[in-house]
């Protein structure tokens, strides 16, 4: 009898255990609300620390701390240097050749990486703007400041993108149902967004940098970028106004020792990201500086750029360096960019990644002044830069001469720095004249191709002519 009793109990147990599995299924498949190493959006925007982390990712996404070229660091400098007249592929022929010969295929993986890296970071900016707009976890003041910071970044990205690809889709939403079908917007539309983002930012940012160093935009960062944008748009008075504020109120100064311009904490830096990778310092340093004084650099300065330096230009001796390579028994010097002079891994980075610096703002104002026929002011700004490079002053009163001098000064001062030369050639409409002698040059190469894979994924995307 005892046994039967036990059996009955077991029967009940059996029925219960099956009932549990069937009835309370929902409980059975509950897993923790997030994986141990990830957080969901709701949690991110309900906590101030998490919000700061999400915004920090925007800056890290520039890639200044990553050891390979990224859209926000290195790529623009290197690849537009090759398509323009600054660089020749040295040891890195594999990737570099098609850029140098201006024969980029529409399926070029480097171009596609640049495109997707740009939009990946724009997504991070957009989701932060959306999340911060709706959060109650932080004060209204911090909200508007963070959004302003993000808009400076967004403007910086779109500015570079339209100068590389021409028309690009304007993405300000995180909803893929909306964004996946958007076509390219006219350049003017994109500029409209850039200007409005920067004006917004200007209103909500303060003169003080939000954090240590010059890594996160302050009001002058927004204004410096705004002055550049206005210059590109030909709105010279606006450019002058913005540049004036930066130069007069920003507290920046030109670093006289050219070896120190790109050091972290440089007084000239208006926007400078920390380069704190463990495996390299800046991307430019790691890419341009060869392993030894006798090995071929990855990229070599073109003879044309080399020749463009005036005699006695300190920038030629300090911002260029050379390695001596044995080519068939002949020792040949190969010059490479040396603005960033550190490559050694494993030590605390002492250089920072420069996005905007005072010298450029001087040149922007000089150009805007010259265009506005204020040649004396233009010369004054221009000569500040020339003086630092140990060059004589420009004294011409002819507008064209001054403009040419400024253009030349931009070529030298801003060489191999964020595509400035390439962009200048295009906005001045001199690109065909300047590059006509280059093997493989065709006018349509002024714009990079829209990656084939992108067009396949979004048939609304048109291709640039010539691809």
């Amino acid at each position: 009898m005892k046994f039967i009793h036990l059996y009955k109990k077991l029967f009940v147990l059996a029925v219960i255990s099956i009932a549990i599995t069937t009835v309370s299924c929902k409980k059975l498949i509950e897993i923790p609300s997030n994986p141990s190493n990830q957080l969901s959006t709701a949690r991110i925007y309900s906590d101030s620390t998490n919000i700061m982390s999400a915004v920090a990712a925007v800056y890290s996404n520039y890639g200044a701390a990553i050891s390979g070229p990224q859209f926000g660091s290195g790529s623009i400098t290197i690849y537009t240097g090759l398509t323009g007249d600054e660089l020749i592929p040295g040891a890195s022929t594999f990737v570099g050749n098609s850029f140098y010969t201006n024969q980029i295929l529409p399926d070029n993986s480097t171009v596609r990486s640049m495109w997707s890296q740009a939009y990946a970071n724009i997504f991070q900016m957009n989701i932060c703007i959306e999340g911060i707009t709706n959060t109650t976890a932080i004060s209204a003041g911090l909200k508007s400041r963070l959004i302003a910071e993000l808009k400076v970044s967004r403007a910086f990205y779109y500015f570079n993108m339209i100068n590389i690809w021409g028309e690009v889709p304007i993405i300000t939403s995180t909803d893929y149902n909306v964004t996946q079908v958007l076509p390219r917007s006219p350049v003017a539309e994109v500029y409209k967004l850039i200007v409005s983002d920067l004006i917004d930012a200007q209103q909500n940012l303060r003169p003080a940098y939000p954090s240590i160093g010059h890594a996160r935009p302050n009001i002058y960062t927004a204004q410096a970028l705004l002055s550049k944008v206005y210059l590109y748009l030909g709105e010279y008075q606006n450019a002058i106004t913005a540049a004036n504020s930066v130069i007069t109120n920003g507290g920046f100064s030109l670093v006289q020792n050219l070896n120190n311009v790109f050091l972290d904490g440089s007084a000239e830096a208006i926007w400078q990201l920390p380069a704190n990778s463990t495996s390299s310092q800046t991307i430019e340093g790691a890419t341009f500086i060869p392993f030894s004084a006798t090995s071929l650099p990855n990229y070599v300065i073109t003879p044309k750029l080399l020749a463009a330096f005036e005699t006695g230009d300190l920038r030629k001796t300090i911002w260029l360096n050379s390695s001596t390579v044995n080519v068939g028994g002949v020792l040949t010097p190969y010059y490479y960019p040396y603005k960033y002079q550190k490559t050694v891994a494993g030590q605390a980075p002492i250089e920072g990644y420069s996005l905007l610096r005072l010298a450029e703002v001087y040149l922007i104002r000089a150009e805007a002044m010259a265009q506005s026929d204020k040649l004396a002011e233009a010369r004054a700004d221009l000569n500040k830069i020339r003086l630092r490079a140990n060059l004589g002053e420009v004294s011409s009163s002819v507008k064209e001469v001054v403009l040419n001098a400024i253009s030349h000064e931009r070529q030298i001062e801003m060489f191999c720095e964020l595509g400035n030369r390439w962009f200048d050639l295009k906005r001045s409409n001199t690109i065909n004249a300047v590059l006509s002698g280059k093997t493989g040059w065709i006018p349509s190469a002024a714009l990079f191709p829209i990656p084939v894979a992108e067009r396949q994924a979004n048939p609304a995307l048109t291709q640039n002519p010539g691809y």
């Binding site: 509950e30 969901s40 690009v168 080519v327």
Partner: protein, 1129 residues
């Protein structure tokens, strides 16, 4: 007009003919052997097993066996009178009773004579007497080890009334006539007939003789092929034990139709991909590689924690792709010793897999390990040593050929060697022009050894059985250096049943330790292509030589240096199972299966500074990785079975709860000061850490009802509700169901009379739906994660957004249909099984490609595309000859799966247009159609989509203005195997051919990917067929050292794919059982000497490399010959 160029790439005539000839020959041999009749034995005791034969025939047989004469009136028994009989070693009387049961005859036996008379119709009185004489029959049914058999069917032959044995094997039949014949049948045993008498005591059943009655392990139970409804193939230990393989998955190749096995590489420990009935999912990983649909793997009821995915996270020689949960690395099945496996069931259709629900959507592979048997305690030992060599070694250019070829390339490029830099052309200007090294031989020419030992102890009493076995195995790599994949396994189980068999316990514990000791890079085989006159790579003290006369040798020396970078993977594998059974009432049983599987892998990979080119200022680095895979499953079940009149009804009600956890931590240490410290992470100059967590929970409830009527008609329906944690709120549950029917038509009288040579015939059909949830967890939320390698931004840990938000994805659904026919000829000596199936998978859950402007390259969503897999499977088994001294068995299977994309809304406008075409397989390759080498220019030419010829085709499909066409279909057209085994007295010989017909990327694709012939790299001798002069017709374009677009396009052209069909002698084995006398002398009960070979021989038109591998630089498949000895104490 477009032509279908893919057709040109099929099996070429000679091979086709060979295959055809081979098949015809086999067929003839089979038929011949079937004509043979086994010699009958004579004696007083009668054994007959016949179904539906004329009574007179039975009399003849009894007469033949007993010598008794038969006397009956000439017209008393017509030919139409037929009967069934199934007796073994019984007296003449019993045999006659069985034969005449239910028929209106009676018999008398006197002397040596049997008289048959018509039975008079019994009078009323007689009937009443009969009633009173009715007896109750009870007996205990046991197996050959005297273990009770529960659930056996017991029937009165005359009335077909039946019962089922209880948990202790007992049955009681009431109201049985004294001379009634009682039939007892059970799956896996020969049917037995006994004559009714009161208490029978023990009835011993003997194991089935027919393949149809052998036991098959299926989902939560066993069944016979005779009564089964599902498409199930069973591979037994016999098929596995004579294959000298370390990974059991490798042994399955060619053994089951519809099962496609693809080795990821030939390296010891490398993963082996398994697929059943084709690729179901379109799912694309962000890397662009398609995830490979694999079945669910279950060992002794416990799902394998890592399934068939990588257990390594770091790159190594053994595992090429170091992504956890990916394919192509180290196999989790390295922890399972093939010697411990009893059987492997391959469940293919919905009828067989429905019980596993979504988990089994891509088929199920059930691995059952060996269990102890009651009786004498047995010790078995097996030892062998094997020799391994690389197969398909190919000939490379020797120095003479190589230098000529290089000079020609330079000439074509108008390069003047006299003024060229020596370091640009070191092979021509710096290296010894006479030195000649065969680098294939250098890297892979070594013969390596495998050592294998296995000991098992088993035994037990009637109620308790046990088995303990342990195995050791060491596979060495045939590359320079002391590398090996070694393993130690412990397998054990304990089974217990109470005296009344009401309560049963089965406990299994398996533990294994696997150590893979190899080098840190998967690309070592690339060193094969080092120029033949390249200087020595290493000094006498084995340090790399990084420069030679000013030339930086690292491009090729690095391969040898990589061998100095140690890698160790230690895997601990534990599999525990506990099955409790409790019979609540006679017909109702409760089972609870508990399982726990855990795989723990621990890796270190070291890159000492001394193994890197000093020119690049290297520092030493090391990686450490720990990965854990865990699965817990709990499965309660209620099982009800009872007979209703002539039928048996069963119901299964159950639930599944499964919890899966996989996590990994990878530590990367860089900037080590001294490379002697590489074993320590704390000594690294800088450390980065990555981790991952993948929790998964799954639960399901199911019901299955089956009814078998009269052993002829079988019905089964099942329904289930599944929940998965991989989906977001509201999408977690899905309902699925299936129905199947079977008809054993050979049991129909009409059929028996018409086609008596067909001993068995069954038609089955099934249809059902199932869903899959194969995706990563948590993707229904927008997630943020810290990056592994990027340092803090000004002291703040950045959190990166991980995905696009789509909370609405859910199960994809598979609709599955299967029809099958089973036929047995000549008393089941020849068995044929044909399956036809069609699976359609809709609502595809895919990482759908979106433009990067959305921020990401893909979003996880259900997509309205439908993929179909449709195919035929044939398998044959034949006992060609079965005599006491000599036997010959043949098995043959062939299957053809056709994959097809049925629909894909908006395909043309999507990025998938480059990959897929509606109406074609999802495994097609699109690219340019090669015309050949232009005899005038020496450059490759392609066809444009308008038919014109060009050396510069346009990227993209025709509707987008491009020239892409479908250039290859990588699905195998058919796969199969042919096995033969012969035994003559103490000798046994068996061999198995495995074959595939398919297209495959060829060696030219390897040659033209990223490089082209003419550069500073060696090539197979086949490149000598190159264009040299105007007018040359050749396969290889003009040699050049420069990048050229036509050569670049060639890599994605039809020229890069060719016929990869092959026939491989997968296994051959000879064994010899030592004579008893000798065994006695050496004190063992029996002993066997054997020689087993694997991958002995390959017949293919595939030019260079192995058609089973994907590239020239894959680690070659190993040819293994093992010599060994098995002893039973």
């Amino acid at each position: 007009m477009y032509q279908n160029y893919t057709k040109k790439l099929g099996v070429t005539q000679p091979l086709c003919q060979k295959i055809w000839l081979f098949m015809r020959l086999t067929a003839v041999l089979l038929l011949f052997s079937l004509m043979q009749v086994s010699a009958a034995s004579f004696g007083q005791l009668i054994s007959i097993k016949q179904k539906n034969v004329p009574l007179k025939t039975i009399f003849k047989e009894i007469r033949k066996q007993s010598g008794y004469d038969f006397v009956f009136a000439r017209d008393a028994i017509s030919d139409e009178v037929k009967t069934n009989i199934s007796v073994q070693n019984v007296t003449v009387e019993v045999a006659l009773k069985s034969a005449l049961a239910g028929l209106p005859y009676r018999f008398e036996v006197s002397e040596n004579r049997v008289t048959i008379k018509k039975a008079e119709k019994p009078s009323f009185f007689e009937n009443v007497v009969h009633r009173f004489q009715a007896i109750n029959v009870s007996a205990k049914v046991v197996d050959e080890h005297d273990q009770p058999i529960a659930g056996a069917t017991v029937k009165i032959k005359r009335t077909n009334y039946g019962v089922i044995t209880d948990g202790r094997g007992w049955f009681t039949l009431n109201g049985v006539d004294e001379d009634d014949i009682i039939i007892i049948s059970n799956i896996g045993y020969d049917t037995k007939e006994i004559i009714a008498k009161g208490n029978y005591g023990l009835v011993k059943m003997s194991l089935a003789n027919s393949k149809l009655d052998e036991l098959q392990v299926i989902g939560y139970g066993t069944q016979s092929r005779r009564l089964g409804l599902g498409a199930v193939n069973t591979i037994t230990s016999k098929d596995i034990e004579n294959q000298p393989v370390t990974n059991v998955l490798a042994a399955l190749e060619g053994l089951a139709p519809g099962l496609n096995i693809t080795p990821s590489s030939g390296a010891p420990g490398a993963a082996i991909k398994v697929q059943i009935r084709g690729q179901n999912s379109l799912n694309q990983l962000s890397t662009g590689a398609k995830p490979y649909d694999q079945p669910l793997f279950i060992v002794d009821g416990v799902p394998v924690a890592a399934q068939n995915f990588n257990v390594n996270a770091l790159n190594s020689l053994g595992g090429s792709d170091g992504t956890i949960g990916d394919l192509g690395g180290s196999s989790p099945f390295n922890g399972l010793n093939p010697a411990d496996i009893e059987s492997i069931s391959i469940l293919k259709d919905i009828s067989a897999t429905a019980i596993y629900g979504t988990q089994g959507a891509n088929g199920v592979i059930l691995i059952t390990t060996k269990k102890g048997k009651s009786g004498k305690t047995k010790v078995q030992a097996n030892v062998n040593t094997a020799f391994n060599t690389a197969t398909r070694m190919y000939e490379l250019l020797n120095t003479d050929q190589y230098l000529t070829y290089r000079r020609e390339a330079l000439k074509n490029d108008n390069i003047n060697l006299a003024t060229a830099s020596p370091t640009t052309y070191p092979d021509l200007l710096l290296f010894d022009q006479n030195k000649n090294t065969d680098w294939f031989d250098y890297y892979l020419g070594k013969t390596s050894y495998t050592t294998n030992a296995h000991v098992s102890l088993s035994g037990g009493s009637e109620r308790t059985t046990f088995l303990i076995s342990t195995g050791y195995n060491k596979d060495k790599y045939n590359i320079p250096g002391d590398f090996a994949n070694s393993r130690l396994t412990l397998h054990s189980n304990l089974n217990y049943a109470t005296a009344d068999n009401r309560f049963t316990v089965a406990f299994g514990f398996d533990y294994s330790y696997n150590k893979n000791n190899s080098a840190s890079s998967s690309g070592i085989t690339g060193g094969i292509l080092t120029p033949p006159n390249f200087p020595d790579l290493l000094t006498d003290s084995e340090t790399p030589i990084w420069s030679y006369n000013g030339y930086n040798t690292s491009q090729f020396v690095q391969y040898a240096a990589n061998l100095k970078q140690p890698y160790v993977l230690k895997t601990h594998n534990m599999n525990n199972s506990l099955a409790l059974g409790f019979r609540i009432i006679d017909n109702l049983k409760f089972n609870l299966n508990l399982g726990y599987s855990r795989i723990l892998s621990d890796e270190t990979r070291q890159i000492p500074k001394s193994t890197l080119n000093p020119n690049s200022n290297p520092t030493s680095s090391a990686n450490f990785s720990n990965n854990v895979f865990e699965t817990i499953n709990i499965e309660p079940q209620l099982n009800y079975q009872r007979s209703f009149g002539r039928g048996i009804f069963n119901a299964l009600l159950g639930g599944t709860y499964k919890k899966n956890n996989s996590s990994s931590v990878i530590l990367n240490g860089t900037n080590y000061g001294d490379e002697a410290l590489l074993g320590s992470i704390a000594s690294a100059g800088a450390i980065t850490v990555a981790d991952s967590f993948n929790p998964y929970k799954y639960s399901g409830a199911f019901a299955r009802f089956g009814y078998t009527y009269d052993d002829k008609y079988i019905f089964q329906v099942s329904g289930r509700r599944d929940g998965s944690s991989n989906f977001g709120p509201g999408r977690q549950f899905g309902n699925f169901g299936s129905a199947s029917v079977g008809w054993i038509f050979s049991e129909e009288k009409l059929f028996k009379n018409a086609l008596p040579f067909i001993s068995f015939g069954k038609l089955t059909g099934s249809y059902g739906t199932v869903g899959t949830d194969a995706t990563a967890p948590y993707r229904y939320q927008q997630l943020f994660k810290a990056s592994t390698f990027i340092p803090n931004f000004q002291g703040i840990k950045p959190l990166y957004v991980q995905n696009l938000l789509n909370p609405d994805y859910g199960w994809d659904t598979k609709k599955s249909m299967n029809v099958a026919i089973d036929l047995g000829f000549f008393k089941d000596r020849f068995l044929l099984n044909v399956n036809h199936y069609r699976d359609r998978i809709g609502d595809q859950l895919v990482n759908f490609t979106v433009p990067s402007q959305t921020g990401f390259s893909s979003v996880l969503r259900n997509f309205g595309a439908t993929v179909q897999n449709k195919g035929w499977e044939f398998s044959l088994t034949s006992k060609n000859i079965a005599s006491s001294d000599f036997s010959w068995n043949t098995t043959f299977n062939i299957s053809a799966n056709r994959n097809k994309l049925i629909s894909f809304p908006g395909l043309e406008q999507s990025s998938y247009a480059m990959l897929y075409s509606v109406g074609e397989s999802v495994n097609i390759v699109k690219g340019y159609v090669l015309k050949g080498v232009n005899p005038q220019t020496g450059l490759f030419e392609f066809y444009k989509s308008n038919g014109a010829t060009t050396s510069n085709p346009t990227y993209g499909i025709p509707s987008q203005g491009g020239d892409f066409q479908t250039i290859a279909n990588l699905d195998p057209k058919f796969i199969g195997g042919l096995g033969n085994s012969f035994s003559y007295k103490r000798f046994n010989l068996s061999f198995m051919f495995q074959f595939q017909r398919k297209q495959q990327a060829n060696y030219l694709r390897s040659i033209y990917s990223g490089t082209q012939p003419g550069g500073l790299i060696n090539q197979p001798v086949n490149v000598l067929d190159r264009w040299t002069n105007v007018g040359d017709i050749s396969t290889i374009a003009k040699l050049s050292t420069n990048f050229s677009l036509p050569a670049y396009y060639f890599g994605t052209s039809s020229g890069a794919y060719s016929d990869g069909s092959y026939i491989r002698l997968r296994t051959a084995s000879i064994s010899y059982l030592l004579p008893k006398v000798l065994c006695k002398k050496i004190g063992v009960s029996d002993a066997k000497l054997y020689m087993n070979g694997q991958n002995l021989f390959l017949l293919t038109n595939y030019e260079v490399g192995d058609p089973e591998l994907t590239s020239l630089s894959s680690f070659p498949i190993q040819r293994t010959v093992a010599f060994g000895l098995t002893i039973n104490l």
